[in-house]
Symmetry: C2
Subunit: 345 residues, 2 copies
Amino acid sequence: MRIILDVMGADNKPEELIRGAVMAKKEYDNCDITFVGDKEQILAALSKEGENKNDYGIVDCSDFVTMEDDPMSIVNTHASSSMAKALKMVSKGEGDAAISCGNTGALFTGATLIVRRVKSIKRAALGSVLPFGPKGMLLLDSGANVTVTSEHLVQFAYLGSIYMEKVMGIERPRVGLLNNGAEEHKGTPIIVEAHKMLEHAQGINFIGNVEGKDIPFGVCDVLICDGFAGNIALKTTEGVAKFVMKKMKEVFSDGLTAKLAGLLIRKKLYKMKKYFDATEYGGAPFLGLARPVIKAHGNSDANAIKNAIRQAINYCSCGAIEQIASSKENFEAAVKAVSETENKK
Amino acid sequence: MRIILDVMGADNKPEELIRGAVMAKKEYDNCDITFVGDKEQILAALSKEGENKNDYGIVDCSDFVTMEDDPMSIVNTHASSSMAKALKMVSKGEGDAAISCGNTGALFTGATLIVRRVKSIKRAALGSVLPFGPKGMLLLDSGANVTVTSEHLVQFAYLGSIYMEKVMGIERPRVGLLNNGAEEHKGTPIIVEAHKMLEHAQGINFIGNVEGKDIPFGVCDVLICDGFAGNIALKTTEGVAKFVMKKMKEVFSDGLTAKLAGLLIRKKLYKMKKYFDATEYGGAPFLGLARPVIKAHGNSDANAIKNAIRQAINYCSCGAIEQIASSKENFEAAVKAVSETENKK
C-alpha cells in the first residue's frame, strides 16, 4: 500500500508532516510513503529523523497551492503543484491514496477533475467527522456542494453510510437528515423529497430528520445535508465551542478563588479544551471518488498526519469504494420508488 | 398603549404569565394590558396578585392552540382560540401589540394572515436575538421562511436593521450575510445576488459575509439568512452550548478535588449556565407586520413576560413600523441597481 503525501502548502513546515509519515511507516504494516514537495526539505527532514531516503518515494516539486489560491488554480496556474502531482499519481495508480493539508477547495476541485468520481456517483462530497457520539459523526456534505438535488442527498447517504461502516467499523450506521424540524414535511422541497427517498433506500438505516440542537448528542452516525447547511452547522459548532471555552477561561481568571479552582482542575480543563479545539477529528475524506483522497487539517502536526495515514490505509483496504460503486442499484430503486408514488397521486 | 397578552398554550400556567403582566403594568408608564384566555383562571390570578380586575381588559376564551397543532389550525380548527383572538384584536386596532408564548408556526401563520404585512414587504420574518455582541445579535430569518429570494433577503436586512436601531438603540447596526465563506462569490446563486444588492442598499451598514464560526463573537448586530440556514445556526448554537455545559458539569463531578473546585466558583458557574440556557434573549419579534407581534419563549416565566411587554412597548412607540414602510424606495433602488449592472454585462 502506497500513500502519496503532499508535504507543501500546509500551516506547518514539510519537516513536521514528514515526521508523522515516518511514525506511520514504523507503526503500520504494509505502509509505503511517497512525498511530493521540495526535495531538499524532504531529504533534510528524513536525515533528521535518521531515515534512509531510499525507503521512501520522493517526487521533487517546488510549486504549491497556497491557502489563498482559487480552487481552479489546481488545473491551470498550479497544474504542476505538489497537490496536483499527488492527485495525478493516485489517478494513474502510482499510489493508493493521496493526503494533503492544503487548500480544501483546490483539493476538492483537483480530486473531482483529476482522480474523478466512481462512475455511478453524481457528486463527490466532503465529509467531516465531528467528535460526537461513540465513534464520531460524519457530516456530509460539509462544504463542497453548495446546492444539491434530492438525488445527490440520497447518494451522500450511501457514501457516508458505507464509509462509517467500512472505515470506522460502525454496524448499520444511523443516518440522519439535517433539517429545521423533526416532522417529515419540514424543510425545503428538495429535503422533503430526499426524506421520502431515504425511507425507501435499501441498506440505509435512516432515522429521520435531525435538528441542529441534536448534533452534539450522538443521535446519528452520518448526518446528510447540502454543503451550505453543512458548512453552517460545522462552523457554528466550532465557533460556539470556542466561545464557551473562552467564557470559561474568563471565569477562571476572575479573582484569586477562581484561579485556585482552575489550578485544582487544570488537567481536566486542558483535556476538555483539547477535545473542543479539534471540533473535527481525523482527516476529512472526499467521498465518491475512484480513489481515496483525504484532506488533513491545515495545521496538522506529526501525530495528525500519522492518523490521517492510518485512515487512508483503512479506507484503501476496507472495500468501501467497491461497495460505493455497487450501491448504484439500491440508490436507483429508492429514487424510482418515490417517483412512482408521486406519479400515482 | 394596550398590549394584548395570550395567556394560554404556554408551558407555564396563565397565573405565571399574568404575574409578569402585573409587574409590567406597575413598572412601565402608559402600559395597559388585555388578557385573552380562560376567564376564571385570569380572575383567580389577578385576585391572588391583589389586583383590581377592572384595571385590566379580559377576553374570555377557553379554546387554545397547543404546541402540537398544525400552523394552519389558527385559521381553521382553532380560529376562535386565544391566539387567534389576540391577533384579531391587534388587527382591528383594539390593542397596539400582541404577545403569545404559544406555538410559533401557528403564531407566524396567524400574524401573516390576520395582522398582515406592511404593504411593501413581501415576506414577514421571525427574528431571534442571540446573546452575542454588546446588545445582542438579531438572527433574521430564524425559521419562518424556509426558501427565499435574494430580494427577500435584502428586505430582511432593512427589517432587521431598523428593528435593532429603533428598538434596541444600536446606531447604524452592522448587517452581515450568513454564508459558507468570507469571499463575495461564496454561497448559493441567491446569496451571491443578495450580496450584490446589499452593497447597493442605501441605509444598510453592510459588513459582508459572516461565517458560522464568527456568530458568537459579536461581528454584526443583524445576521441575515433564509429560515432554513437560520434555524440550523440557531439550533446548533443552542445544542453546542448545552453540550459544552454538560461536559463542564461532568468535569466538576469527577472526583473530590473537582467537586471542591466547583464549590469555589459555583456562583460564577451558575451565572454562566444561565447565560447559555437562554441562547436567545427577549421575545422573538415577527418583523414586516403592520402591527407588532412578539413570540415569547414557550417556557417564559413572569420576568420574561415583563421583558416581552417592555419590548412590545418600545416596538410600538419607536416608529420602526413606519420606517419599515418607508424603506420601500431604498429597497427597490438596491434591486434595480443590481439588475441594471447585470443587464449591462
